[in-house]
């Protein structure tokens, strides 16, 4: 009996990949463990191994095909070389038939739905860039401009970054400025703070922010407070960056949003970009900032593409952005929360509800003024974030609106957040634990009484 080989999932967030190379040809014998093909994901090139014994009797997806969805049949393994007929007889899988015959168009993964960039001068040139590349470009440009800037963290150099954010930096800047550390977060975060006190400008990568909990004492007690404790003598120009929040199915200890945690700390700046343009511009600003900046990224956004202005693009810390204007309600979000928010905004628009969408971009210092100005117009506000509801960013916005814009509110401020539980692993429960577009729509309907 012929067996179909399916496009394998090779990472927690992989949905599709490029079938870059066939290592075996039709007619070749294969044994379990033999490498039959190579697949390129956004993070790495991986080998596909045969599970069954037999003969490669058909290749369904040619080498070079981009954007092959996980679980698409890619080849057939038969009992012997003549088993090709058996394959033809077995129901030809639809996705394979639809697969492009030649190296084809790359899917623009979840292409950016935002068009208007009102705050760029006319004539600005843009290049489609992934968030991953934008972050790398920001570090590389600042490292070229300032010899005091260096990058440190686990797997940042030789491995090119666990999530490939530091790709190419070791090659360009060498091992003195791109430093692989042992797995010792508390130690290397403290060491980097010391280096910053001595005047260097470290960019510390945490493999994910979940592991920064090992180091949080140095971030808060040493980095954030020293300027104050020293009566202004000694500042700490440092960036702590890495993926924050849920990835996909990585469970309770690896899926946590720290925006609200760091937002409470005087002496820190906290940034959480959504688009590649903001990721680049804000990271450059963070590296130039004389204060400690906690820079929260998101693994799911890394592979997404957005237009980024060409050149020395810097986005000021502390300024929110009105991404879409509207009249009936204000939606405030940041980071990956913006993906739910923008989808909900489009659906609400279709339902005849006009929402204004604000991307906070910086969490601390928070641009509450922009939010208040919007709420003065709409009278209603819904906040959206993946973090937990208690003492959340939404809680802070609600409190500020009640104290500073009470007279303008026509409805209670509602929060859409992650559920108040540790992140479950099961696919169905994980989905329930995260916020979704439907919840955002419901909340807006509730505050607009529609």
């Amino acid at each position: 009996m012929a067996i179909e080989i399916l496009m394998p999932a090779l990472s927690p967030t992989m949905e599709e990949g490029k079938l870059s190379k066939w290592v075996k040809a039709v007619g070749d014998a294969v044994k379990p463990g033999d490498v039959i093909a190579e697949i390129e994901t956004d993070k790495a090139t991986m080998e596909v191994e045969a599970v069954d014994e037999g003969v490669l009797s058909a290749i369904l997806i040619p080498a070079g095909t981009e954007a092959v969805k996980v679980n698409t049949p890619i080849a057939v393994i038969g009992q012997d070389a003549n088993d090709t007929a058996a394959k033809a007889a077995s129901p030809a899988p639809a996705p394979a038939a639809a697969a492009p015959a030649a190296p084809a168009i790359v899917s623009a993964p979840a292409a950016a739905p935002v068009a208007p960039e009102a705050d760029y001068p006319a004539g600005t040139e843009f290049v489609a860039t992934t968030v991953r590349e934008a972050l790398r470009d920001a570090m590389a440009e600042e490292m070229r401009a300032d010899a005091d800037v260096f990058v440190m963290g686990e797997e940042v150099a030789e491995y090119q970054g666990a999530y490939k954010i530091t790709q190419g930096l070791l090659q360009e800047f060498g091992a003195d400025r791109v430093v692989d550390t042992p797995i010792t977060e508390h130690g290397f975060a403290g060491l980097a703070v010391g280096a910053a006190l001595a005047g260097l400008k470290p960019v510390v990568e945490f493999m994910t922010f979940n592991f920064a909990m090992q180091a949080i004492d140095q971030i808060i007690n040493s980095a954030a407070k020293t300027l104050y404790m020293s009566g202004g003598q000694m500042g700490c120009p440092i960036v702590f960056r890495g993926p924050n929040g849920a990835a996909a199915r990585v469970g309770a200890q690896h899926s946590q949003d720290y925006a609200a945690w760091y937002a409470q700390i005087p002496g820190l700046k906290v940034v959480q970009p959504w688009t590649a343009a903001d990721a680049k511009g804000l990271l450059k600003a963070a590296i130039r900032d004389p204060n400690p900046v906690v820079f929260l990224e998101n693994e799911i956004l890394y592979g997404q593409s957005f237009d980024v202005p060409v050149g020395d693009h810097v986005v000021p810390i502390g300024k929110a952005k009105i991404v879409k204007s509207g009249t009936d309600a204000t939606l405030v979000s940041f980071g990956i929360g913006m993906t739910y928010t923008m989808k909900a905004a489009a659906e609400l628009e279709a339902m005849g509800i006009s929402v204004e969408v604000i991307d906070l971009r910086t969490i601390r210092p928070m641009d509450v003024e922009t939010v208040i100005r919007s709420v003065m117009k709409t009278g209603r506000c819904v906040t959206v974030e993946e973090g937990w509801p208690v003492c959340s960013i939404g809680s802070e916005i609600a409190s500020r609106l009640v104290s500073e814009a009470f007279d303008y509110l026509d409805a209670p401020v509602l929060k859409v957040t992650g559920k108040d539980v540790p992140m479950p692993y099961a696919a169905n429960l994980e989905k329930l634990a995260l916020p979704n577009v439907g919840e955002v729509i419901e909340a807006v309907r509730a505050v607009t009484y529609r």
Binding site: L6, P8, Q214, R249, H254, Y425
Partner: protein, 337 residues
């Protein structure tokens, strides 16, 4: 001239391990094979999208947990990292329940809420399944604290990797364990890499048996690919801890054949290096060869064991695919009691 050795560290590879009886060889063979086949199946199911998130396979390291299991008392506790499937199977946890947790189903050990990295069994004295590198080391020390507190004669075993051995909390735990003579064995599974970082690129002292020297904790380097050497060293360490002399370090020299997790292309080492390990040191092949050359069992008898192991794994895979997802109401349970 070689650096002077601490009087309290030794290399057990220098001594010939105690031979196994027929039953012991067959026990080791069957249990290591179960881990190997289970992990291969988990890898396939990950590729099919049935298992999500991180999935860290134990292939290559089987002799470590199986050898320790052969030496320990049933009620001695185990605690480890995210690379935990082998530890659970060796502890006698049910393959169906482990695999169903990997697929996130209600029949899994954590009702589908924990996943590959987070499973537990009080009944089998297995305390998890921990995702934060190094965190299980103080936890394991705490299990030993409870043992001493209750004077119940149990010994705790805290497993961790060569990479985890650089975390600060490991040494905080060592100091307390040494100070209070806690019955804990620190099992450093040195598989030569922490993700993409070879030991020599991350460790100032690469002889992990010496990591306890400044706390006066004795240590041994053990051939972690030879299940007999593992059992011998474990028996010595267990005896030391149980007799109230305090903690003990075992550096198990082992090797992981697969990538760090499913998404690791493993470009930091050569294919030849992996192949050489598999060909010359495979823990299962060693036992198999001994059984066949000594005539303890025939090829057919081993085939029979292979078939039984495959059937166990296939049953687990079927269960894990057919068992339903947890009920939606489970989202809100078990947060607090």
């Amino acid at each position: 001239m070689a650096a002077p050795k601490s009087t309290r560290t030794k290399t057990s590879a220098e001594t010939e391990p105690t031979s196994f009886t027929r039953d012991e060889e067959l026990f080791a063979y069957r249990n290591m094979l179960l881990i190997r086949r289970f992990e291969e199946k988990a890898g396939q199911m990950y590729g099919m999208g049935l298992i999500g998130g991180f999935c860290h396979l134990y292939i290559g390291q089987e002799a470590v947990v199986v050898g320790m299991q052969m030496a320990k008392r049933d009620d001695d506790q185990f605690i480890t990292s995210y690379r935990d499937h082998g530890h659970m199977l060796a502890a006698g946890m049910d393959a169906d329940g482990v695999m169903a947790e990997l697929t996130g189903r209600r029949g899994g050990y954590s009702k589908g809420k924990g996943g590959s990295m987070h499973m537990f069994s009080i009944e089998k004295a297995f305390y998890g399944g921990h995702g934060i590198v190094g965190a299980q080391v103080p936890l394991g020390t705490g299990l030993a604290f409870a043992n001493k507190y209750r004077k119940d004669g149990r010994v705790a075993m805290a497993f961790f990797g060569d990479g985890a051995a650089n975390q600060g909390q490991v040494y905080e735990a060592f100091n307390m364990a040494g100070l209070w003579k806690l019955p804990v064995i620190y099992v450093i599974e040195n598989n030569r890499y922490a993700m993409g970082t070879a030991v020599s690129r991350a460790s100032s002292q690469t002889d992990f048996s010496k990591r306890g020297v400044s706390f006066d904790i004795p240590g041994e380097q053990v051939d972690g690919m030879d299940v007999r050497a593992v059992r011998d060293a474990s028996a010595r360490a267990l005896e030391f801890c149980r007799s109230g002399q305090g903690p003990y370090i075992l550096e198990m020299q082992t090797y992981r054949y697969r990538g760090h997790s499913m998404s690791d292309p493993a470009k930091y080492r050569s294919k030849e290096e992996v192949q050489k390990m598999r060909n010359e040191h495979d823990p299962i092949e060693q036992v198999r060869a001994r059984i066949l050359t000594s005539g303890m069992a025939s090829e057919d008898e081993l085939k029979q064991i292979d078939a039984e192991v495959r059937a166990t794994v296939q049953k687990a895979a079927d269960f894990a695919q057919n068992d339903p997802e947890p009920d939606a109401s489970e989202l809100w349970t078990d947060v607090v009691r």
